[in-house]
């Protein structure tokens, strides 16, 4: 098309506004630093030691948040499409069971599959990932083809997947897992997996068509449809990826615990959603970044670790966590209202 012929010098009527946008992560990062410093200060005052300068504590903290972090990378993408995934915690439980049942050693007389012991480590890992992906696929298909709200579809999956996890071994834990499998969850590996997953999807969201379409659907589903995006198919992809990542979290968690238990991952979906929201992902869709989610995950970890460090009751931890989540959303709403007025 000969649009070039129309090219004429542009009148720059509006002065360039030098409002060099700070990445929204900067704010969240400052919040993280602030919270850490408060604990540092309280540490010296109340316990008489440093909170931050303790290598072991930091390692434990990062390890603890890795599993939630892996989940929240998927959940962030779901929330960017304007949806929600309540099933992640249950899917973690289910996939932990499935993966562990294929990672048992032959020394154990009462293995779930006596014929399938001493399998190469890839087998349980792939089985866990596949189970998670299938759960996500079902979520996505329900949302895309029946038009039920994501809240309901994933609520159903949350209940059903937990039930399946319990049914799988009639509630018995799956133990005696191979050393190779256990290695996935030991040392620094969970952290490496978390950061790798975060990096991959950070790139995917920012630089690929998959990412652009994800934001488009969340920003305006109707406009996305009119722009030729196959919204249903794309949503299925996003939910399947979220399920796959929950599966990965299930694998990591069962490897770390060296056992699979049906009760694993209870309420993890809430922490994952909280991490995304604290990290600046908007529940109304179209806005959010993986970097923010990573920081949000670490904020949650710092708080848990800090409260433990100060020997504050677990009850208070939950109360404060609740307040922080609500405060994050209020701040988000406030920001949006201000933007609309501007």
């Amino acid at each position: 098309m000969a649009m070039e012929q129309m090219t004429q010098p542009v009148q720059r009527l509006e002065k360039p506004r030098h409002r060099r946008k700070m990445p929204s992560e900067a704010n969240i990062f400052l919040v993280l630093i602030g919270i850490a410093l408060v604990f540092e200060l309280l540490g010296w005052l109340l316990v008489g030691q440093s909170f931050l300068f303790n290598r072991q504590r930091l390692v434990v903290m990062i390890l603890q948040v890795s599993v939630i972090g892996i989940i929240s990378v998927g959940v962030t993408q779901v929330i960017i499409t304007g949806g929600i995934d309540l099933s992640s915690g249950s899917v973690v439980g289910l996939t932990a069971m499935v993966a562990a049942s294929l990672a048992q050693t032959s020394d154990y007389a009462r293995a779930v599959y006596p014929m399938l012991t001493d399998m190469p480590v890839l087998v349980p890992v792939l089985a866990g990932l596949a189970a998670g992906a299938v759960a996500g696929l079902i979520n996505g298909s329900l949302i895309a083809y029946t038009g039920i709200p994501p809240f309901i579809a994933t609520l159903g999956m949350m209940v059903a997947a937990r039930g399946m996890a319990k049914w799988y071994t009639r509630g018995q834990p799956v133990s005696m897992l191979s050393d190779n499998y256990a290695a996935i969850g030991s040392g620094i590996w969970p952290v490496v997996i978390f950061l790798l997953v975060a990096l991959i999807f950070h790139i995917a969201l920012r630089y690929t068509r998959y990412g652009k379409f994800t934001y488009a659907i969340g920003a305006n589903m109707q406009a996305a449809r009119v722009s030729g995006i196959d919204v249903g198919r794309h949503l299925i992809k996003v939910y399947a990826i979220a399920g796959l990542l929950s599966g990965l979290a299930g694998v990591v968690l069962s490897a770390r615990a060296i056992s699979g238990q049906a009760g694993m991952g209870v309420a993890y979906e809430l922490d994952a959603i909280a991490a995304a929201v604290i990290g600046g992902t908007s529940l109304s869709g179209g806005v959010g970044r993986i970097t923010g989610t990573v920081i949000g995950t670490i904020i949650l970890g710092v708080m848990t670790s800090g409260f433990t460090f100060l020997r504050i009751d677990a009850y208070y931890q939950e109360i404060v966590k609740g307040v922080i989540i609500v405060a994050a959303v209020v701040a988000d709403q406030y920001r949006q209202r201000k933007r609309r007025k501007a």
């Binding site: 068509r209 305006n220 996305a224």
Partner: protein, 512 residues
């Protein structure tokens, strides 16, 4: 000026001042950002009369009505109710002062009974403070018998037909002892017999001395039910006449009688072969038997009143809401347009009517807004978007379309309506369409941007693009189109060539 509260107290005391006019509006002006919706408009409603408001889409009828109903506050002008100056600050203010609006989109709660809906907030209570259902029923029956309405007061509103719901709305308005009733195209969803019943009720209300503001596009209704008619055009008041002293032609002339002041940069370009051919396209209950051809380089205007099915035809062509029967062929080949993606694959592009609802990704930046459609088949390698290349193309588009923004990374919601529209046009031009469907391409944007968009459309046509342009603005349709297709109530009522087309002719076909 009397406050609404005082006014209400006076009304409740029963000492209703008697004045000839229920309502007198004078010199009212209302502006919205970038648009003057009403300018120096006057309007008077007599007791016991039906006063029709007429005008094209966007003439200002709805704005005036919303001012009377307390939804908008006018920027200036005076507003007298029963001879007293008053200022209404909310719809509730209006309601409590005896002005009730019967909404086009009905405002009833489907899971509550008819009686509960009518007396909501004012339910009769028994000694314990609970709702007295018997009294509720009796009050409703009394009201219905007065209006000659036959509906069971205890049935859920959700189970009623549209016509009956409308009756309930009217009864509700009357239950407030309103003496000004505003009806906005009340017959648009009614059958002939239901219309008859509605008119009976209107006559009964008239006999009680109430005043009715009646908005309609239908000429025959006007002569059947209205006593007076006021005509509006482009936010201006044109005139008021007794209904039995004017003819249909007078009114059409008043509605359209305007010079085409804007210059349209229409060029004569060679018209090529038929690109898009539509045969007997039907979407059950929405539009029927639509057939037309569009040729390369041709601009086909689509005229008709709001609700005539113009936009629905466009949506069916593009696969947004696929048609139920009929045939669409492109370059002679029949295609089944089930989704927008299929339409795009065949070279179609569709600028939707509603920028906010179906156009912009408000929270995303200009660059992302512009590239979203083209990414389907270009500028992507192995899933990765070629950022530099697409940014360069978008930058070119920005210059070509003169989008006024310092930075493509600005969120689109920070742009003016005209610039947003240009971004969306850019989105479609990047896909290099051969058939361009434009639904109200210049609605709500300023004159300068309008002219630029008109120039652009002409330019595209000269490059051989087939253009279908829906517009409610007569001068735009007349100025831009090679041919005009007029629709009325889901059917094509005629085609007009550029040479023979005039506002009067279009209006005659559009408002039969």
């Amino acid at each position: 000026m009397i406050s609404p509260v005082t006014m209400r107290a006076v009304r409740d005391s029963g000492a209703v001042p008697n004045s000839e006019f229920l309502l007198e509006v004078e010199g009212v002006r209302k502006t919205f950002p970038g648009v003057i919706a009403l300018d120096d408009v006057s309007f008077r409603l007599r007791r016991g009369s039906v006063h029709a408001l007429m005008g094209e889409n966007g003439a200002g009828k709805s704005t005036l009505m919303k001012i009377i109903a307390g939804i908008y506050t006018p920027d200036s002008g005076s507003f007298k109710l029963r001879g007293n100056e008053i200022e209404l600050n909310s719809p509730l203010d209006a309601l409590e002062n005896g002005i009730a609006m019967i909404h086009q989109e009905l405002n009833l709660m489907p899971y509550m009974t008819v009686a509960e809906n009518i007396w909501i907030r004012r339910e009769p209570k028994n000694a314990f403070g609970f709702v007295d259902h018997r009294a509720l029923r009796e009050k409703t029956e009394e009201l219905f018998s007065r209006l000659n309405i036959r509906i069971d007061p205890e049935i859920n509103v959700g189970e009623l037909s549209v016509a009956n719901r409308q009756m309930v709305e009217i009864a509700k308005a009357v239950s407030y002892e309103s003496d000004v009733l505003i009806m906005d195209e009340p017959t648009s969803a009614l059958t002939e017999r239901e219309v008859e019943h509605l008119f009976e009720i209107i006559r009964a209300l008239k006999a009680e001395g109430k005043g009715i503001v009646y908005i309609t596009h239908k000429m025959n209704e006007l002569f059947e039910i209205a006593d007076e008619v006021s005509v509006f055009r482009d936010g201006h008041y044109i005139g008021t006449h007794k209904a039995d002293e004017v003819t249909r032609d007078d009114i059409i002339r008043m509605m359209v009688g305007r010079e085409i002041t804007q210059m349209f940069p229409k060029e004569e370009v060679p018209i090529g072969d038929v690109v898009l051919s539509v045969k007997n396209l039907t979407l059950k209950g929405v539009f029927h038997d639509i057939s037309f051809d569009v040729r390369a380089g041709e601009i086909l205007g689509l005229a008709g009143l709001v609700g005539s099915g113009r936009s629905n035809v466009a949506e069916a062509l593009f696969g947004v809401t696929p048609a139920t029967s009929g045939e669409i062929s492109i370059n002679g080949r029949a295609i089944d347009v089930k989704t927008p993606a299929i339409a795009m694959r065949h070279g179609m592009a569709f600028l939707t009517e509603d920028r906010k609802d179906t156009g912009c990704f408000l929270v995303l930046d200009i660059l992302e807004n512009m590239q979203m459609a083209v990414l389907r088949d270009r500028y992507v390698k192995r899933g990765f978007v070629s950022e530099a290349e697409v940014a360069r193309e978008c930058e070119r588009m920005r210059e070509a379309l003169r989008i006024k923004t310092p930075d493509l990374n600005e969120r689109i919601e920070n742009l003016s309506g005209g610039n947003q529209q240009k971004v969306l046009i850019g989105r479609w031009l990047l896909t290099r369409p051969r058939i361009l469907i434009l639904d109200e391409p210049t609605r709500g944007i300023d004159v300068g941007a309008k002219a630029e968009i008109h120039r652009l459309i002409t330019k595209l046509a000269s490059e051989g693009v087939a253009v279908i342009m829906i517009s409610s603005e007569m001068p735009e349709v007349l100025g831009m189109s090679d041919r005009i297709m007029v629709m009325h109530e889901g059917r094509v009522t005629g085609f007009l060539d550029r040479a023979e087309a005039s506002q009067v002719k279009i209006m005659e076909l559009a408002a039969q």
